[in-house]
Structures are given as C-alpha cells and as structure tokens.
Amino acid sequence: METIVQEIQGVPLNHYILFCSLIFTIGVIGVLIRRNVIIIMMSIELMLNSVNLLLTAFSAHSGDASGQVFVFFIMALAAAEVAVGLAIIVMVYRNTRSVDINALNRLRG
C-alpha cells in the first residue's frame, strides 16, 4: 500500500488536476453534444470518475484518508443512480422505441 501511495505522489499534483479537468471537460462536452441517451450516461460516468481520480490524488498527496472514503460513497451512489437511470431509459424505450434524446420534445412552452 505504501508503494502505491508513493507511486501516486511521484507525479506532481498539478498534472493530476489538469488531467482530471480534461476528462471532466470531455464528459461535459459529451453530455452537451451527444444525442444518444446511453452515451450521455457514459459521459456522466466519465465526469464522476474524473472526480474519483482527483479525490484519490488529493488524498494521497495530503496523506489524508477521507478523500478515498469519499470515493467509495461516489461509487456506491453512482451505481444506484445508474440503476435507476437505466430503468428509466428502458421505460422510455418501450414507449418510443428510441433512445434518442430528440424523440422527447413533446413538452414545450
């Protein structure tokens, strides 16, 4: 375990911050420009996982375990969210026969 922490600390913190911000941005852009609901969900996962990585890096660099505990909370709740989200997508698919976000524009005004 010690060696892993040292490995993580071997890379400067700024690199982690830049890298995670990049992944996060890719996720955000994915949510904004893609029209397929499944891919939007994958982009959201990308956002959450960039946060996980960032928290782990901060945690290893500051020698404080609470950041890693937070990662477990994020994983658990992301799993719960995905379970509900996939159920919603299945429900929508049964009614519209499509997972395209543009199929859902009946509510307007």
């Binding site: 913190l13 911050i17 995670c20 996060f24 996720g27 955000v28 949510v31 609901v37 939007i40 969900m41 959201i44 956002m47 959450l48 960039s50 946060v51 960032l54 928290l55 901060f58 500051s62 404080d64 609470s66 950041g67 505990v69 937070f70 909370f73 994020i74 709740l77 719960a80 969210e81 509900v84 989200g85 159920a87 919603i88 997508i89 429900m91 929508v92 049964r94 009614n95 519209t96 976000i101 859902l104 524009n105 009946r106 509510l107 005004g109």
Partner: protein, 459 residues
C-alpha cells in the same frame, strides 16, 4: 439523528405494508411516522447542538427549523394523496415509500456538517424523485420528465462533486468547520482551487434549485411529472436545496464574498426576469407555476447574497410561505384537472360560482405568491428585500420590485378567470382531506401575514 433513522425505517415499513396488501393503513402509518419525527425534532430543539457522528451532521436550530418545515409540508402533500395514486396504479405503497425516502434525503441536506453528507443527502433525495417523476410508466409526459430530470440531475451532481473535490484539495478536509477555519485563517492567500470549487458548487446547486441559467429542465419536469409529485418537488426539495446552499455559503465562504457575490447577483437578476417574463405567456396553469417557482428561486437567492445573520430567518419565512401557497395551488389544480381534464387557465373559469371556498383558497394562495400584504408571501418578500437592502444592493431591490409587479399580473389571471368568467361546468366535489389541507395552509398563510413575530425569532 433519531428522527432521520425513524423516517428511513418508516419508509421500509411502508414498503412492507404494501407487500402485505394493507393499503388502507398506508396513509395513517405514514402520517403517524411523520408526527413522531416531528416529536423527535421537538425534543432535540433545546439540546446542545454539537456535530454528531464524527462531525457528519449538526442539528442546530437552523437544521431543526428547516427539517420541521420539510416534514410538515410532506404531511400536507401526503394528505392530498388520498385517492390520488389509486387512480393510476395498484401499487400505492411505492409512492409513499419513495416520498418518505426523498424526505429523508432532504433532511440530511438541511442538517449536513460534512460535504459527504451534502452529497449523499442530495443523491438520496434525487434518486427517489427520478422514479417518482416517471412513475406513470405509460404516460409520455411523465417519461420525458423522468428522463430529463435524471439526466440533468446526474449532470449537475458531476459539477457538485468536482466542486467538492476542489474544495478538498484546497482545504484538505470535507468538514464545514475545517473549511471555514482554512478560509478564515488565510482569506487573501487561499488556493486558486478553492475559487474553482466555489464556482462549480454554485453551478451544481443552481441546477438543483432551478436558478437561471441552469433552470431549463424545471418547466418540462414540473409539467410532465404527476401534479402531486410536482408539488413535492417544488416545495420540499426546493426548501432543502436552498437550506443546504445557504448553510454551505453562510458558514464557509463569507470571507470570500467579494468573489462569489457578483456571480450570484447576476444569476438572481437573470432568474427573476426569465422566470417572470416566461410565466406571463403561459397558457397552462401548471406550467405557469413551474416558471413562477423559477422566479421564486431568484428571490430566494437574495438571502444567500445577503449572507447575514438574518438571512436564515428570511429564507425560512419565504420558503414556508411559498410552499404553503404552492400546496394550495397544486391541490386545487388536482381537483380542477380531475373534473375538467385540463390544466389550462380556461379550466378555472367561473370556479367561484359553484365552489366559493375552493376559489377563495386559491385566490389567497395566489395573493401570497404575488406578495400582497396581509399574507405570508408579503412578509417573506419584505424580509428578503430588507436583508439585501442592508447590504446596499439598491439596484437589485429595484429590479426585484419590478419583477414582483410583473408577478402580480400572471397570478391575478387565474383569480380573474375564477371570479369574472362565465361558468361552463358542474360543481367540483372536494373530499375532507383536501378541505383540511386547504384550510390549514390558508390559515397559516394568513396568520403569518398578520402576525409574523411567532416564527421570526425562531432561529
């Protein structure tokens, strides 16, 4: 904490009641559980407020007052549910259980003392609501509402989490007290990560409270979800989200005011104008209420901008008044829609001739939402404006008063429809539960409007 534990056990119990087909027991058991939660909070009021469970939650007066408000509004919403869910589904227990789970999350959000609890509370609250929004599986509007709410909710959670991660990187802790110490001890040399964290938290929380420019999901979701769920979303969830928002910013970031107040100022003004002007052109009462809830989010942002000792009180009164009026408005809308099948303004035509009590209740609720004196809405707006004026944001108050005037315009539209348009339908049957809810909500609205002192000294 015992109150939150009771509530989550209650929700599981309700699920079991559904399993054993004890449908008649659902509502009484849920209400009893809510009452015992209230009692537990009442006991907690006088106790010493220390952070519990390694600093995870803190039940100070602020948390208890907002929790009690959330529980009371949920009780009103559950009373309105009599005969509402049965029409659409045979599995009624799930509705109650999900509403109670969502309430549990809301209570965590108002009493958090660690950013982990803020995140977990928001997630518990939202995940239950994603299901509730889409609970009419065959209804296309309900489907669309659920999917949009889910995508936007998960998206905003990402921003919230990235903000929390940056705060952690800057201050080295998730604990509110530790973050506050960090900010107070070096207000001029804080890490740039903290600024990024604050901005991302504002984005994430603005999504949750439905403030512009992150409001675009609100009208569709409020419009598509079943009316009773919309009631819950626009009252309890908004209350909790704002209480959490204010708690975080008031307890941690006040020394950095110069950085984030301009951001929130612009957001508040944009929210007010977008909410009010779009509400003007709506044909559907339900959609109008959705836009009006956006504009109310704008007013409530004032309290966070003021971020003073009085803003907790101001938010409590404002959100209480707004929630009570919303419950009445949506309650009447349920009855009208059940009879006429439409939620447009025309459906309210001539309501006063056959249902004078119903229209009186709705009229008082509209006056309260518009902020007319002698109602709770006026007191709420007054406290909001005066807390901002104390900080010399005069221009903001002028803009807000202009918006309040626009608001009167569309709130009065339904009053005009009820009292001055010809009648074209039969009397609406109102059952005892609805009468009770309307009476209680209207009485409290008027009482607060005439004699506000009994609630203002609370926190």
């Amino acid at each position: 904490m015992s109150a939150i534990i009771t509530l989550s056990l209650l929700a599981i119990l309700v699920l079991y009641l559904g399993l054993f087909k004890a449908r008649r027991a659902l509502l009484p058991v849920s209400l009893l559980g809510l009452v015992s939660t209230l009692v537990l909070y009442g006991i907690q009021w006088d106790g010493q407020a220390v952070p519990l469970y390694s600093g995870m939650v803190l039940f100070d007066h602020y948390a208890v007052a907002f929790s009690v408000l959330c529980v009371l509004i949920t009780a009103l919403v559950l009373l309105l549910s009599k005969n509402y869910f049965d029409a659409g589904s045979t599995h009624v227990a799930e509705y109650y259980a999900l509403i109670l789970f969502s309430l549990t999350g809301a209570l965590l959000v108002v009493s958090f003392h660690n950013l982990a609890m803020l995140f977990i509370g928001i997630e518990i609250m939202s995940v239950a609501l994603y299901i509730l929004a889409g609970i009419r599986k065959k209804d296309f509007a309900s489907n669309e509402a659920a999917l949009k709410y889910f995508l936007m909710g998960a998206f905003s959670t990402g921003f919230l989490l990235f903000g929390i991660a940056l705060l952690y990187g800057a201050s080295g802790s998730f604990d509110l007290a530790a973050i506050k110490d960090y900010v107070v001890s070096n207000p001029h040399t804080v890490s740039p990560l903290l600024y990024g964290g604050i901005l991302l938290l504002i984005v994430g929380l603005a999504f949750k409270v439905g403030a512009a420019p992150f409001h675009f999901w609100t009208p569709d979701v409020y419009d598509g979800a079943p009316i009773l769920i919309t009631t819950f979303m626009s009252t309890v969830v908004k209350t909790a989200a704002f209480a959490g928002f204010l708690r975080l910013f008031y307890s941690c970031f006040v020394p950095l005011q110069d950085f984030w107040i301009p951001v929130l100022l612009i957001m508040a003004v944009v929210t007010l104008f977008i909410g009010n002007i779009t509400a003007l052109i709506q044909q559907s009462f339900k959609r109008m209420l959705a836009y009006s809830s956006i504009s109310h989010a704008g007013y409530m942002l004032f309290a966070i901008i003021a971020a003073g000792p009085s803003s907790a009180e101001a938010v409590l009164v404002y959100v209480g008044a707004y929630s009570l009026a919303s419950v009445v408005a949506f309650g009447v809308l349920i009855l009208v829609k059940r009879t006429t099948g439409s939620d447009h303004f025309e459906a309210f035509n001539g309501l006063a001739k056959k249902n004078p009590y119903l229209s009186l209740a709705l009229a008082i609720a509209m006056l309260s939402l518009a902020g007319i004196p002698l109602t709770a809405g006026f007191i709420g707006k007054f406290m909001m404006f005066s807390s901002v004026l104390a900080d010399y944001h005069v221009l903001l108050v002028v803009l807000a008063v202009v918006n309040a005037a626009i608001g009167i315009f569309y709130y009065f539209r339904v009053i005009v429809a009820m009292y001055f348009k010809p009648l074209d339908r039969d009397q609406i049957v109102v059952n005892g539960y609805y009468k009770t809810v309307l009476t209680v909500a209207i009485l409290v609205t008027l009482l607060l409007g005439v004699y506000p002192a009994w609630i203002t000294g609370l926190i």
